[in-house]
C-alpha cells in the first residue's frame, strides 16, 4: 500500500491571531515496503506530517491518499477509523499510553478496537510480546509494575499487534539506554524486512537514519527540501549543515580518514561494513 501526499498544506489555528503554517504545499510519496526517515530541525513540520499520515490531523488543503482511502479537510470519522487499521503509530514515550490492568490486556486494546475478536487479539498480543522479548511471566501483571524499558516494549507491542501495513515511529528510542536503543532499532529493521511493511522513522538521531533507512525526506520550516536515497542525502555534509542537522558519525569518520590518506571506495553504511572496508584497505596497503 502506497501513501501519496498531494499538495498537502497544514495550518494550525486558521483564521485566528495564532495562525501558523506548519506544512506548505507538500507533494510526495511513501512507497510500500520501504524504510523512510523524516528529518528536519525542531519545528520543521515532521510531527505534523506524520499525524497527517494516519488521520490524527486532516489536511487544511490538499489530499492524503492512503491506499484507496482519501483524506481531505472534511473526511468523516468513520473513514478515518479505517486508516488507523492500516497505519500504526508509535508515539514518543509510548509507555505513557498504558492503562490496562494487565500487560496482555493492554496489548490487546488496539487489535480489539480495530475489530479482531478476543481470541485472535490474544494470539497476536502473545506473539508480538514474545517477539519483543517480554517474558511470559509478565503477561498478567499490571504494566505499571514494569521497568521503563519493558513498558516501552509493551507499548510498542500494542501497536505491532494491530499488524499495520505502515508503521510510523516518532523518536522511538528517546530516553532508552544505549543497549536497548540498538535492540529496538534492530527489531524494527527485522520487522520491516520480514513483514515487508513500510516504516517511517522520525528522529533527530542521524546515525539511526543513516544506518536503517532506505530513503529520506528532509523538511525545513514546513517545506519539503529534498527527498531521495539515504546514502545521497546523509552524505551531503553541506546540505545537512545548511539545515542545522548533524552529519552521521560514520560519514564524518570516513571523510576525516580520507583526509589522512585512508580512502575507502565508498562510504560504509554501518559498523560491519566499516570494519570490512578498513580491513580491505589495510590488506591493500600492506602489499
Amino acid at each position: 500500500m502506497n501513501i501519496q501526499l498531494e499538495k498537502l498544506t497544514s495550518i494550525y489555528h486558521e483564521n485566528t491571531p495564532f495562525e501558523h503554517l506548519a506544512l506548505n504545499n507538500i507533494t510526495t510519496e511513501f512507497k510500500e515496503g520501504t524504510y523512510y526517515g523524516i528529518i528536519g530541525h525542531t519545528g520543521s513540520g515532521k510531527s505534523t506530517m506524520i499525524q497527517n499520515l494516519n488521520g490524527l490531523l486532516l489536511p487544511s488543503y490538499g489530499e492524503v491518499h492512503i491506499g484507496d482511502i482519501t483524506l481531505r479537510r472534511k473526511t468523516k470519522q468513520r473513514i478515518i477509523h479505517l486508516v488507523k487499521k492500516r497505519v500504526g503509530m508509535v508515539f514518543q514515550f509510548p509507555e505513557h499510553q498504558l492503562f490496562e490492568e494487565s500487560v496482555i490486556k493492554d496489548v490487546m486494546f488496539g487489535p480489539k478496537n480495530i475489530g479482531m475478536d478476543e481470541e485472535t487479539a490474544r494470539e497476536k498480543a502473545e506473539y508480538y510480546l514474545k517477539l519483543l522479548n517480554v517474558d511470559r511471566a509478565l503477561f498478567d501483571i499490571p504494566p505499571f509494575d514494569l521497568s521503563g524499558g519493558q513498558m516501552r516494549k509493551v507499548a510498542i507491542a500494542g501497536i505491532l499487534a494491530m499488524e499495520p501495513e505502515v508503521l510510523i515511529l516518532d523518536e522511538p528510542t528517546a530516553g532508552l539506554d544505549p543497549l536497548s536503543h540498538i535492540e529496538t532499532m534492530q527489531l524494527f529493521q527485522k520487522i520491516q524486512k520480514e513483514m515487508g511493511i513500510t516504516v517511517i522513522l522520525v528522529t533527530h538521531d542521524m546515525n539511526d537514519v543513516y544506518e536503517y533507512t532506505d530513503e529520506v525526506k528532509l523538511l525545513n520550516q514546513g517545506n519539503l527540501i529534498r527527498s531521495g536515497r539515504t546514502e545521497e542525502i546523509l552524505t551531503d555534509a553541506g546540505l545537512l549543515q545548511k539545515y542545522d542537522l548533524e552529519v552521521p558519525d560514520i560519514v564524518r569518520l570516513t571523510s576525516d580518514l580520507g583526509k589522512k590518506g585512508i580512502e575507502f571506495p565508498k562510504i560504509p553504511k554501518n559498523r560491519e561494513e566499516f570494519i570490512n572496508l578498513y580491513m580491505k584497505w589495510r590488506d591493500g596497503y600492506a602489499e
Binding site: 470519522q77 477509523h81 503509530m89 505513557h96 492503562f99 488496539g110 494491530m162
Partner: protein, 265 residues
Amino acid sequence: MLSKMLLGRYIPGNSMVHRFDPRAKIIAVFLFMIIVFFANHWTGYLLLVLFVLSLTKLAGLSLVFLFNGLKLILLLIVFTFMMHLFFTKGGTVLIDAGWFTIESEGVIRGIYITIRLAMLILITTLLTLTTSPLSLTDAIERICRPLKAIKVPVHEIAMMMSISLRFIPTLMDETEKIIKAQSARGSTFMTGSLKSRLNALTPVFIPLFISAFKRAEEMAMAMEVRGYQGEEGRTNYRVLDWQWKDTFAIILMILFGIVLFMIRQ
C-alpha cells in the same frame, strides 16, 4: 476548541489595567460584585455597562475578542433570561399562549438579571485576562495574610494555587497527547453510543492520572531537595508595589458605588 476559551486565560500586555497592583484589582472586583446589586433601574444598569465597557477599552482588549471567548458562557446567560421570561410573573400580560404566559415584569427582570450576570462575568474575566496567575496568587496571599491569626495556612494555600495554575497548560498538552496516542490505537471518541464514548475515556484518564501523580511526586521531591519548608524565612522574588494610583482606583470604585446607591429608586 479549548484554545479559544478565555476563562482563566492571561493575555500579557502593558495597558493601564495591566499595571494596577493585583491586590487593587482583586479588591476592586470584589467591590464591583457588591455594587452590581445596587443598581435597580435603567440608569443604574446603563452606568454599569458603560463602566465595564470603558474598562475593557482601557485594558486594550477588543469586545469582539471577549465575546468570542465567552460564547460558552452565553448559553448560561440566555438560559437565565429564559427562566425569568417564563417564570417571573407580574405587570401586564404580553403573550398568553394558554399553557404559558410572558408578562412584562418577567421581561424586565430577565433583562436586568442578564445584564448583572454579564457584567459580573466580564469584570472577573477582565481581572484574569490582565493579571498573570502568579501575581494573582501573590495578591491573594497578601490580602489573606491577616487570616493567619486564626491559623489559616495562607501561604500553603497560595502555594498550592500557584502550582495548580502552573500545571494547567502542562496537563492540557498531556491530555491531547494521550488522546492522540489512544486514537492511533483505534480508540474512538467521536463516534458510537454515549456508553462507548464514555468507555473510551478510561484509556485517557488513567494514563493522565498516573503521570499527574508522578509529576506531583517529582515536584515535591525537587522542592524538598531545594530546602523548601513553608513560609518561614522566605522572601518574595516578585514584590508587590502599591502606588497612589491603586488607592485612587479603589476610591473611585467606592465613589462609583455611592453614586449608584444614590440613584436607586
